[in-house]
């Protein structure tokens, strides 16, 4: 009954999205306020219906209703409650319903937080979002119904994949989908502006907070995924350049280019068509990502059960959605003006360079991800494109990008000269080289990768500090209140600096762990010890234990450094009772200066076990850096110019209010 109610709610939602997609749009084109006024309430109703539907699914999982195929395939009565609930998005069907929930949620947020958007603009935006929601609703209802029944009802379910029985499962998909689906907001803003013909600086100011928040969520989502893979999968790495990882990274690259592009459009009115294209591209890549994960076209550890029929549906969806948007672009964009003038060296041109580099990076990732498919389709054989390719190709592009990242914020708008810029940055450049050399020397091992990485890190840090100093330093020799000026810095500026510093932290983590990572495989009997990088690991033996739905062998190691106790580590080998696949739970001790990572291997003889020990310097900085990036973005969105209310119809209203920062 509950499942049928949830299913029915989705059909009702189809009706609502049809209304939402058509009526307000017509109203906006014809100037009919009564039709446009339908947009907001329709969005509220849509959210209500999808929330209800998802609630039905959650309830079914919570109640162990194994008459529902989805529940029977991905859950089990012995599964702890929080994982039973998380299992609702552990399947292809359930995750699509989560996608719909996010889509409806974003549309609702736009409806609620856009008090100062003119009604026609809002109406068009919500109409587009309604249509996007409709496409996914149809996909779910026709090919991927999460509420399908299973008769005869099994006694118990097949359990959730053990690798997903982890807190990461609770946070990573929702966060990631918030990001993926958030790109649809940028898309909707762009398409609405193309239709309405109001592609201008104001439009950029309205779009910017939404795109930034979506970008922040995508950053958090990807970082969570990477962190989760690191500690859960136990292979010691944090990024595999797997097709699905790339599928989430590609929209991120575009979103990053988009937020910078919007900055220029907002400030100078330039880059309008470029920005619109990026907005369209961002959501297209979200769709592409969905396609890659669910169609079986590319193998991936992440793929849901692949089904070419579903793949075909998404492909058609992608072709129609993106094709329509691009057609609209081709038709309307010629009317878009050139924007203000800027010289060959200026902040605008540097930001444009940033965009170009991000898009080249995107092209590289997309090429590598799709190339095996391209060759196979052309009958030219089967190859694999993995980490060695991406590392070789991607890193140089990023190095160039980071170089420009240091220049951009310090360049003047509109017109700057190379000598002037060089003077502003000479201190930062010098200190960068010195610090990088010092760090490499202290580290003990010097490789090309480590040198480039350290240069990148310090370049960002010191260029940000240079900018900060330029903004707060006393004017005209008067020792005015630096702290006061610090406090006066606009949030958007602070946010930008925090986010850029986040990139530096990230690069530092990647460089250090890539260069100075140490692995040691040892055979240990109780009492044996080994010392890695100053840390002494002493094996105490192991014991068997019973978890809620697994049996495990848990090892115990004591870690000391210079005689002082540092930590106790408990790596496990688990066998989940239902699916019977063995899993290693590595023991990880995360510290600021690095992680101690211990994995229990196989028993060798008697009570001697193979133990794998890693010391990974600064690895957690990778995800802390991403955290700073996202937080910086969120902080920037709370800038007062987005929160100011509209003064009157004639003056420029400030943009949309602060959003998910709440």
């Amino acid at each position: 009954m509950i499942a049928e109610a949830g299913h029915f709610a989705l059909w009702l939602a189809v009706g609502v999205t049809l209304v939402l997609g058509i009526v307000p749009m017509v109203g906006a084109q014809r100037g009919r306020a009564d039709l446009m006024a339908l947009a907001r309430p329709a969005t509220h109703v849509l959210l209500g219906l999808i929330v209800f539907s998802y609630g039905c699914l959650l309830l079914s999982f919570a109640r162990n209703d194994f008459s529902i195929l989805n529940v029977a395939s991905h859950s089990n009565s012995a599964l702890p409650l929080m994982y039973r609930l998380a299992a609702s998005w552990g399947s292809h069907e359930g995750s699509l319903l989560l996608w719909l929930l996010m889509q409806a949620g974003w549309a609702w947020a736009v409806a609620v937080f856009s008090r100062n958007l003119p009604l026609p603009v809002l109406a068009r935006i919500l109409a587009v979002m309604g249509l996007l929601t409709l496409s996914f609703l149809l996909f779910v209802l026709f090919t991927s119904n999460p509420f399908d029944r299973l008769i005869p009802v099994p006694l118990d379910g097949r359990d959730l994949n053990p690798q997903l029985q982890d807190p990461g499962m609770i946070f990573h998909p929702p966060m990631l989908y918030m990001g993926y689906v958030g790109m649809s907001v940028a898309f909707a803003f762009a398409v609405a502006a193309l239709i309405g013909g109001n592609l201008d600086a104001q439009w950029a100011r309205w779009s910017r907070p939404w795109v930034t928040v979506a970008w922040a969520f995508l950053t958090f989502g990807i970082a969570l995924g990477s962190w989760w893979a690191y500690y859960e999968l136990g292979w010691g790495g944090w990024w595999f350049w797997d097709a699905v990882e790339n599928a989430s990274f590609m929209p991120w690259l575009v979103a990053t280019a988009l937020i910078h592009s919007l900055a220029v459009t907002e400030k100078r009115g330039s880059f309008k068509s470029w920005t619109v294209l990026l907005a369209i591209l961002g959501y297209s890549l979200s769709l592409l990502g969905t396609f890659l994960v669910r169609s079986g076209v590319i193998t991936s550890v992440h793929s849901f059960a692949s089904d070419p029929k579903r793949g075909f549906f998404i492909l058609v969806m992608l072709a129609i959605t993106v094709g329509a948007a691009l057609s609209l672009y081709a038709w309307r964009a010629p009317k878009v003006g050139l924007g203000a003038r800027f010289s060959t060296l200026s902040r605008e041109s540097l930001l444009l360079t940033n965009n170009v580099l991000l898009l080249v990076a995107l092209a590289a990732v997309m090429l590598g991800t799709l190339y095996p498919l391209i060759l196979d389709a052309l009958g030219l054989g089967k190859i694999s494109v993995g980490a060695p390719y991406f590392d070789a190709v991607f890193a140089p592009i990023m190095a160039v990008l980071v170089f420009f990242m240091g220049l951009g914020p310090l360049a003047r708008w509109k017109n700057d000269t190379l000598p002037a810029l060089a003077v502003r940055l000479r201190w930062a450049a010098g200190v960068t080289v010195v610090c990088a050399a010092l760090t490499a020397w202290i580290g003990g091992k010097i490789t090309l990768g480590s040198v480039v990485g350290l240069l990148m890190t310090y370049w960002i840090v010191f260029s940000v500090l240079t900018e900060l100093w330029e903004r707060v330093r006393p004017a005209g020799g008067v020792k005015a209140n630096v702290l006061y000026r610090l406090g006066q810095l606009p949030r958007a500026t602070v946010g930008m600096m925090v986010a850029h510093l986040g990139v530096a932290v990230f690069v530092f983590g990647v460089t250090m762990v890539g260069t100075y990572d140490i692995e040691r495989d040892v055979a240990m009997s109780p009492g044996d010890s080994t010392t890695v990088n100053g840390y002494t690991f002493t094996y105490q033996g192991n014991q068997a234990l019973r978890g809620p739905n697994y049996d495990a062998v848990r090892g115990h190691l004591v870690v000391t450094r210079d005689g002082r106790a540092v930590s106790e580590m408990y790596p496990e080998k688990r066998v989940y009772r239902v699916q019977r696949n063995p899993m290693t739970e590595a023991a990880i001790d995360s510290r600021i200066r690095g992680d101690l990572y211990v994995q229990l291997g196989e028993p060798i003889k008697g009570d001697t076990w193979l133990v794998r020990i890693w010391v990974k310097p600064f690895v957690s900085w990778i995800w802390v850096g991403c955290l700073f990036m996202g937080l910086g973005g969120m902080w920037a969105v709370t800038d007062r110019r987005y929160r100011a209310r509209a003064t009157s119809a004639s003056t420029e209203p400030a943009g949309t209010a602060a959003t998910a920062a709440r």
Binding site: L338, T353, V360, A363, G386, P388, Y389, M496
Partner: protein, 176 residues
């Protein structure tokens, strides 16, 4: 009675001191006997490091989403052993890769080999990088030669809000 109690108390005190002491000494002795620097799991860690480096570039054909270094599949273990043996015999890493591709094709390499079909793959991104930067520069130059009427009104005119000593800025000053 009191003497007995006193004796018991003395005994208890002695026990309380002796037992931990005995335990400590025996533990320490046991650690001396059993504790040793754990032997590396393999006889030749340097060789093992090379094996892992090579194995990290080979794709596990069973799971297909792991390297044979990380995979626990039977075939992965067999292939790792094969790699180890070949390296131990003094073969080069190139020979190991050739061995694998002779049997499993290019699919088994995570680093796609450079051949005519993969030229766009390897040269595409660097060429694109160079072309786009040059193209951008050229486009910017061309744009700057256009007459001023082609451009729209400049929202900030000539006032430039670069970072600099704090000064009055129009419109509530934000440079982002």
């Amino acid at each position: 009675m009191r003497a007995e109690r006193g004796l018991r108390r003395a005994l208890r005190r002695q026990v309380l001191v002796l037992v931990p002491l005995v335990l400590l000494v025996s533990l320490w002795a046991a650690s001396l006997v059993h504790a040793k620097e754990a032997a590396p799991a393999s006889a030749d860690p340097a060789l093992e490091a090379r094996v892992m480096r090579v194995a990290n570039e080979l794709r596990c054909l069973v799971c297909q989403n792991e390297t044979i270094a990380a995979s626990n599949a039977d075939l992965a273990v067999d292939l790792r052993n094969q790699v180890r043996e070949m390296l131990r015999q003094g073969r080069s890493e190139r020979e190991v890769f050739d061995y694998m591709t002779a049997r499993y094709g290019d699919f088994v390499l995570y680093r796609p080999p450079l051949k005519s079909s993969t030229v766009p793959l390897w040269f595409g991104p660097p060429v694109l990088l160079a072309v786009s930067l040059v193209g951008l520069w050229w486009m910017l130059r061309r744009r700057n030669r256009l007459p001023p009427e082609q451009f729209e009104n400049d929202p900030i005119g000539d006032a430039n809000d670069t970072p600099g000593p704090a000064r009055e800025r129009a419109g509530g000053g934000d440079t982002r």
